[in-house]
Symmetry: C2
Subunit: 343 residues, 2 copies
DNA sequence: TTGAAAGCGCTACCAT
DNA sequence: ATGGTAGCGCTTTCAA
């Protein structure tokens, strides 16, 4: 079991007959240390496999080089893409990433944030849960002078930068495409009414209809509570069985579109000929569906990357001019078969 | 900007006219402290929102309550499920989870492990990359007495517990099911020959054929290099166009099965009537494919949970009797339409 | 039941 | 160019 104890600066100093401060300075190549001392110390350190005790360094410097990241769900294509981008940006800059998930529960989010704060992360990346309305647990970071970046789902109560998908434009472009394909009665299965993404996508949808003078009906805009496949199925059924059925459905997310497609297949409606279906997010399932699903790519990786870079910038400078801006990452329309009526 | 400085034990002691040690003991409810002192200190702490400086605590106790987790890819259904389980287990026990991804590159894995070690994680959870053969960067943890648990992809060179899918049984059951459905010429698109999962699944496949006295051909066992959809397509084509084409294909993973299904659809072969297709992993795409794909559920969440619990147990006890065991999480056959010829 | 003080490993200030 | 030393916030041993 002979566990090797790591050697410390003190050991190096003693062995080399120099002082601890000299050893420290040599290792960190401070100015005012002779070349030979630097070489001697660094050689010794390498030879004996010296690894600085980062806890002690953190303690002394009162920072941890650690970023906390709080997301609703890890098992989710979009969020895992964001995490991947954040991981790469953090690693590149020498930061570490601590991750927590909240399962969309306000209480778990509060716990996670408190744990992050108590654990002395240098800054926070967070996408709030659907349940969250009180954001004081996040405000605490700002009160302590620790930068926070919100991404994806955010609260306007917090004066922080926000890195988000261009939901309005994404939705607008998606619906415009449906219109160009000749669909005229376009429904939208929307999300929760108090979540900003849903609000923005709804606004983009509405504007596209207005732009092209198409009819609008409140009944054509059901709201999901859970954003599930089952809701997609149920709302598609409800829409198609109504007195004034739409000829296209724009869904708040690919999973909802999957449910809608399942209903359409079961009820023998032809997609895209009779009904057009559009998703949002570009999950792998959108490629796999039959017919393949047109959707909107959100570039999760870019969002994670950008949010993390922004956080690190603010960690490294004292310029807080970043505060409260919105950075929108451009989405891309992915045209597949579920909306391709022409050519 | 008035950043609130956090209050320290010293502040509490000074304000309350007691010593720092008494304050510490009262907060941690050590024996031999009067009820009233405990109450006084804890009330004061709560009132002034005292949060212990965890860096100092860590420093003092020489542990971080942090677990390092290294995976090949975060954007991957199976791995994100594992992460989710690990996150939940860690959180429950008061540990934090630091995550790194290696992109299946040995060099990035080495960097990630060194960063974890330098960052003083208490223990390591790792699934090695396909490229990894030298494992000295992981051995270093063991040399320092830090527990390591391997999961999913592992190396036998490391004497650590391994939490893995029951690949042999999973593959065996999957092929047995194909045989029971009446398929007689069963091919297997396998993975890398030096990766244990592939080896075990191949062994399960072979044994099932032997059990039922079915023919075996080396040409029926192509090996993927990247485990991609494209390879699935290519190998399915190669198999079906060969002189002795199989009537069923067992694929190393769902993504490969997707590629195979794409080829079969394009070449107008009926699944499951003419050709049976079986995947492995139970990704969301397997449900979505037309026809839906039979596959093997790997219970990633359970693997992450179990691996983390195991690590924490070993962190909290000195009983190292866990060493070098293999814990196999039972997989489950998911029968869908791609193999359902009867009934 | 409480206090005083050492010390974890390192950095940085003040000397020389 | 180098050494001595204080001190970060906390826990823990020893003493009272």
């Amino acid at each position: 079991m002979s566990e090797k104890r790591r050697i410390t600066l003190k050991d190096i100093a003693r062995e080399l007959g120099i002082s601890v401060s000299t050893a420290s300075r040599a290792l960190n190549e401070y100015p005012g240390i002779s070349e030979e001392t630097i070489k001697m110390v660094q050689d010794f350190a390498k030879k004996h496999n010296y690894v600085p005790n980062s806890i002690a360094v953190n303690f002394r410097k009162n920072k941890t080089m650690t970023i906390g990241m709080v997301v609703p769900e890890v098992v989710h294509y979009y969020f895992s893409s964001i995490i991947s981008g954040a991981l790469d940006a953090a690693t590149k800059k020498g930061y570490r990433l601590l991750i927590s998930q909240t399962e969309e529960k306000a209480e778990l989010e509060m716990h996670a944030c408190h744990a992050m704060l108590a654990g002395n992360v240098d800054g926070l990346l967070i996408s709030i849960s659907n349940e969250t309305s009180d954001v004081s647990h996040i405000q605490e970071f700002l009160d302590e002078g620790k930068p926070v970046i919100q991404f994806d789902k955010y609260s306007d109560k917090l004066k922080t930068p926000k890195v988000i998908t261009d939901d309005y434009q994404g939705a607008h472009g998606a619906v415009k495409h449906l219109i160009e394909q000749g669909y005229k009665k376009i429904a939208h299965i929307n999300g929760l009414e108090n979540v900003q993404n849903s609000v923005d996508r709804l606004a983009g949808y509405r504007q596209a209809l207005i732009d092209h003078h198409l009819e609008q009906h409140p009944e054509w805009i059901p709201h999901c509570q859970q954003i599930t496949e089952e809701e997609g199925y149920r709302f598609a059924k409800q829409l198609l069985e109504s007195k004034n059925p739409p000829d296209a459905i724009f869904c708040i997310t690919d999973l909802v579109a999957l449910g809608a497609m399942n209903y359409l297949r079961e009820s023998n409606r032809k997609v895209p000929e009779e009904i057009g279906v559009m998703g949002f997010s570009n999950w792998k399932i959108s490629e796999v569906m039959q017919p393949s699903l047109s959707t909107v790519e959100q570039h999760g990786y870019q969002i994670g990357l950008r949010a993390t870079e922004l956080l690190i910038e603010s960690l490294q400078s004292n310029d807080k001019s970043l505060r409260d801006q919105k950075i929108e990452i451009q989405s891309d329309l992915m045209i597949r078969n579920s909306t391709l009526r022409k050519g």
